[in-house]
Symmetry: C2
Subunit: 493 residues, 2 copies
């Protein structure tokens, strides 16, 4: 195979795989947003067919050979595609078909078991499944290969190049500072969202207006409803967001929209020339999450943002917001109150939930912690971080879906996203001295421009840490996140 | 290959193909109902990938060998699957890849040309494309093989076993009778739907209620909006209907729902044991259309049906329907007034549009008519059938999308559907003497039961004509359709 042949083989085969993967993505979106329940059995077969066809392309030795060759190409873009493509190829070929099949089977059986176990707060029901999953994930890590910690092999799938040690170092700085912040705010009485009726149709209009205003292109995207909000970049030119509505408040749906729009802006900002190629995707899940958290928290909970948008919110919901002023409204957005459930947590305590999970899952994987010891270990560590006694496993380790689906190594990306988001906007603010006055006029074009040129347009050219250094001049640091969380304390803004 | 091996190969490969085809169907539904315009380029590549993968399975010689063998199976169901599977396999292998590719290319280029030509009523723009398409369809017919008329090879794809001669015979009885009926009604002044505001949300609720009432299962289906209403049985357990709304009337959306629900009931009534297998589909397009027309026209325009539903319509739309009585409302549904546009035609004159197209397309295919002669031939024949002079090609032969997409041989299935629908309900009425009083109580369960057992549950076991004979005791005849159309004349009901 010469370089030209390698390039032809690579581009045609990778495109074939990308087409299949985007079809899978559409099926996944449809399943959560549209599909009637009667379609689920057949859909499962469609999903596994597409996964099988895509996997067969990825592990083709001829593709591997082509990628090896192209890694030596003098064209730096092509070489980078090849490097990223080879990374995925090698990971896939290292996993035996038996392991992949067993993992898929165990996870699909474990998920309903987890659901019941959570409902009944029943550790003994889920424990044997989790043990099997940990064993399989350990086998996966050993197959992929690792030097310092087996968790390195897992986190690398979500956050390429990031190690257990680097996350541990960041979290060791972060955790005590977060606990201290939460403790300082323990006596506050947070305001609740004003009671009243918030018509869903108005929430839809308002959310879509806000999404469009920060740059989401509805010619290449949609906004729908699902039980759990998500963003799916189903294909080039087709990015789909969801949120969920309740008529007792608009904050949940609105921040759902802002969060998913942040993901969507990243997807829509990936370079067209990378479409269907290895670099045509986010740098990592953590960087992806940084984009959603940036718009949701850094922009969307700021005084500047709401000085423009709060009057509009009042026009949409004149009843409940009639007697509410901007300061009161911001206080409802800036609470910091420990609670048991991660997905209901505020910005400050949220990251403590992640620190906890990271510590637990690394220990489970290394064998330092057994599944039998898990509930006690979780609850002790939770009390130490949050100052609360976990009443049952339903509100303890059984609350999250991730492990039952084999998603070990995923949790840190949430806090990395928060940390990157704070670091990115601090850098943007240095480059754009008028940013806050722009936001206060409802204008976020300069910020989007900054993200487009420093983050989105890079696709997967750079590893997260390198991208962070190039965009901000610094390696990832908890400094900016802590500074931001500090600013949320009433009176500090 | 022995019988067991043949059965294994057949069932695994046919299932693979069905999974791919149902994924294609979902993509097609999504494209018309959900996809943002930015996704169209990528979607075209997804569609052609899936078509290619599915075609490769269908033409596999090993599959052909297995199907041949299974045709000799002592299991009559398996032998019938094999017969139907072999029919599709043989048709596909007879078409050269070059012809298939050229057809796909020419049609995808011809469609936008047709759209512009229609807009500008410009025969000269579309003529060269239509000439190419006719030439390719003739080549297709010659490849597939035919004895009496090349059109036989095309209609067979939509209406298996039906011949040009059998359609011609039916239409030769039908056409003069329809023209005479239309002429007798020429002096009537049809009532228009009462003017007023019909809120779209209320139309949605009413349409869904009506669809559910005649048996559509929303656990295994949905109802959405698209520019052109359609029904897609995207997968077992997942059948999707669409309609379109305008706030000036509910009749368009409502009959759209009834029509598509008719298709949907057929899809939902196909036997589960045939899922993903050759017999797990409608007997033909004409039989499919009979189900939509039966619910739309035979049931949905009947006095019995509206004696139950009209009070409900009045409750939904009290403003515009306030002073309207049942007789007046039925007169708006029973008009017979020639017009230029097929899709706007009433029940009576609709079939004259089809008679015209059938005559034209058989002549184009045999070479008795050239594309250059087409506009004049169309307009002369139209005037002769309908008594109206066609003012321009936009309202003449350029009005329909079918030919630009290669759909020659499709049109007769619409009138066959009308004819089967009238014949089926006449047979059902003989078997169910209380049918009309049931309908007048809002109960159509007995009719659905009759259709389930005589039509739906057969899947593709029988050819349309055999199915018709088995269900009604007679070969297809225009008698019942004419009887029905006669009954629509005011005073005849």
């Amino acid at each position: 195979m010469n370089l030209d042949e390698a390039r032809d083989l690579f581009s045609s085969q990778w495109r074939e795989m990308s087409l299949l993967d985007s079809t899978s993505a559409l099926l996944g979106w449809d399943e959560q947003v549209m599909m009637p329940s009667g379609g689920s059995a057949w859909r499962a077969s469609q999903n596994s067919q597409l996964a099988r066809l895509s996997h067969a392309i990825l592990i083709d030795p001829r593709l591997g050979e082509a990628l090896m060759l192209l890694g030596t190409s003098p064209d730096p873009i092509l070489a980078a595609h090849a490097r990223e493509g080879l990374r995925r190829h090698l990971r896939a070929v290292k996993l035996s078909p038996a392991l992949v099949t067993e993992m898929a089977e165990v996870c699909s059986l474990a998920q309903p078991e987890w659901r019941k176990a959570r409902q009944e707060s029943d550790h003994s029901r889920f424990a044997p499944w989790l043990e099997r999953i940990i064993r399989l994930k350990r086998a996966e890590a050993d197959s992929v290969g690792w030097t310092n910690h087996p968790y390195d092999a897992l986190i690398d799938e979500y956050e390429p190049g990031t190690t257990t040690q680097s996350v541990r170092t960041l979290f060791e700085d972060l955790a005590p500072a977060l606990s201290a912040l939460a403790a300082r705010r323990a006596d506050e009485h947070p305001l609740a969202e004003p009671a009243g009726n918030y018509p869903v149709e108005d929430q839809k209009k308002f959310g879509e207006m806000a999404s469009r205003a920060i740059g989401f292109n509805f010619e290449s995207g949609r906004l729908d409803v699902s039980t759990h909000p998500f963003c799916s970049g189903v294909a080039p030119g087709d990015c789909r967001l969801t949120t969920r509505y309740n008529s007792h408040g608009f904050v949940e749906s609105f921040f759902g929209v802002l969060h998913e729009t942040g993901h969507g802006l990243y997807e829509q900002g990936l370079p067209d020339s990378f479409d269907g190629l290895p670099l045509g995707q986010a740098a990592s899940l953590g960087i992806h999450e940084s984009q959603s958290r940036l718009w949701e928290n850094q922009v969307g909970r700021s005084r500047a943002y709401w000085s423009f948008w709060f009057p509009i919110a009042k026009a949409f919901f004149p009843g409940p917001l009639h007697n509410v002023d901007l300061d009161q409204f911001l206080r409802t957005l800036h609470r910091a109150k420990p609670g048991f459930i991660r997905v209901e947590a505020d910005e400050t305590t949220y990251n403590l939930h992640i620190v906890l999970r990271f510590g637990i899952e690394t220990a489970l994987l290394s064998g330092d912690l057994t599944v039998a010891q898990l509930p006690i270990a979780w609850n002790e560590r939770f009390e130490c971080l949050m100052g609360l006694k976990v009443p049952d496993d339903r509100r303890g380790y059984l609350q999250d879906v991730h492990w039952s689906g084999g998603g070990l190594g995923y949790f840190p990306t949430y806090t990395l996203g928060n940390l990157y988001a704070a670091q990115f906007i601090a850098a943007a603010r240095r480059d754009l001295p008028n940013l806050d006055s722009d936001l206060a006029r409802g204008d976020s074009a300069s910020l989007l421009g900054w993200l487009r040129s420093h983050i989105h347009s890079k696709g997967r050219m750079l590893r997260p840490e390198a991208l962070c250094i190039e965009a901000t001049g610094e390696a990832p640091t908890p400094h900016y996140l802590l500074q931001h969380l500090e600013s949320l304390i009433p009176g500090n803004a």
